[in-house]
């Protein structure tokens, strides 16, 4: 991986592994049978749904592969993924739809 030493990559893997384990272990292992406060439940419920799209929104609009210029093929592919995901409520068909549009678009271009 360019830009990082092997030791740095392993540090990321280990820290992410330990941190993720501690998150999973938190209540089961340490907190025990105590109720989770309402505000905490509320915030935890929306972490994945906020962080995942925030991470990729700039990559969809300004992909590095096209020098930061909006790319019609990638935009159509993202739109197809989103539409099929919303309609089917399921991840795999959405990935297939987005991948198909991306593959066809790249091939035709």
């Amino acid at each position: 991986m360019p830009g990082y030493s092997d030791a740095t990559i392993w540090l990321v893997i280990l820290a992410l592994g330990i941190g993720t384990y501690l998150i999973r272990w938190s209540f089961l292992g340490a907190v025990g049978d105590r109720p989770v406060p309402d505000w905490a439940q509320r915030v935890l419920r929306y972490t994945a749904v906020s962080v995942l799209p925030a991470l990729i929104a700039p990559l969809v609009m300004w992909p590095a592969a096209t020098g930061g210029q909006p790319d019609p093929v990638r935009l159509y592919s993202a739109a197809a993924t989103l539409a099929v995901g919303l309609l089917t409520r399921s991840t795999l068909p959405a990935i297939l739809a987005g991948g198909t549009v991306l593959g066809l678009g790249t091939w035709l271009a």
């Binding site: 993720t20 089961l28 509320r42 925030a54 990638r74 795999l92």
Partner: protein, 253 residues
């Protein structure tokens, strides 16, 4: 031929038959999830290798982290040359939802032996959690050993293929032509994971606010925008939920 269709006897030893049956139920009910897990694991192997991770590092992610979305996000941020702390903060934020899984299973498993709870924590992925909470709530009279056996049956079906097919993807991925637009595999995957989550108005509000903030903040150094956009989206979701429940109380009251 009839020999083949007989259920395989489980090495349950002195355990009661209901524990063995719970184990088998967990095993069988986990099988359909392979349809999603296998392609996803293959993709991670391919994407991680394409980003420049070696085989050991790619496997390190799938064995030690064992959480698909955060693995993809870490690899994506590393290829954007984000600072290490940003990589860790964003990827751990994605896994924060598992604290909720842990909390919601505690009433059902809190009295299992500590070593069993420690093992369950390691394999607490989206699918094991989803299976467990449905089973435990539908069959509240299951004993603790039966609940643990159910998870013990489901886990190898869900977690071992994740590692195995990461390996297949990482080794086969080196044969993929460089012209393929693999850079877009992560955006597609994350969009496909988020779209089915749009179940309620607060979920939509959280995602919209997060996306708009991330776009507005895209000028910041790589990966840091999400550290602000993520919490903004989470706050929007929480506020929308509070507003919605207040309205519901007003209407019914």
């Amino acid at each position: 031929m009839t020999q083949l269709s007989r259920p395989v006897p489980l090495a349950s030893g002195a355990e009661s038959p209901s524990v063995a049956r719970s184990f088998r139920t967990g095993f069988l009910q986990a099988l359909p999830f392979l349809l999603v897990l296998v392609p996803f694991a293959l993709l991670f192997g391919v994407v991680a290798t394409a980003a420049g991770l070696d085989l050991a590092q790619t496997m390190g992610f799938s064995v030690l982290v064992l959480a698909g979305a955060s693995q993809f996000s870490a690899v994506q941020l590393l290829s954007d040359h984000a600072p290490v702390l940003v990589v860790l903060a964003s990827s751990l934020a994605i896994n924060l939802r598992m604290a909720m899984y842990s909390a919601s299973l505690t009433p059902w498993l809190g009295r299992a032996p500590a070593w069993q709870r420690a093992l369950i924590a390691y394999v607490l992925i989206d699918q094991t959690y989803g299976m467990a909470i449905q089973r435990f709530e539908r069959q509240p009279r299951l004993t603790i050993p039966e609940r643990v056996a159910y998870l013990a049956g489901a886990t190898p079906v869900l977690c071992l293929p994740w590692m195995l097919f990461t390996y297949v993807g990482a080794t086969a991925g080196q044969m993929i032509p460089a012209a393929w637009p693999l850079d877009f595999a992560v955006p597609i995957t994350f969009l496909a994971m988020t779209a089915p989550m749009m179940r309620t108005l607060p979920h939509v509000a959280a995602a919209l606010v997060a996306v708009l903030s991330a776009l507005a903040l895209s000028g910041l150094p790589s990966g840091t925008g999400v550290l602000i956009a993520g919490p903004l989206g989470m706050a929007a979701g929480a506020v929308a939920e509070a507003w919605q429940s207040r309205r519901r109380i007003q209407r019914s009251g």
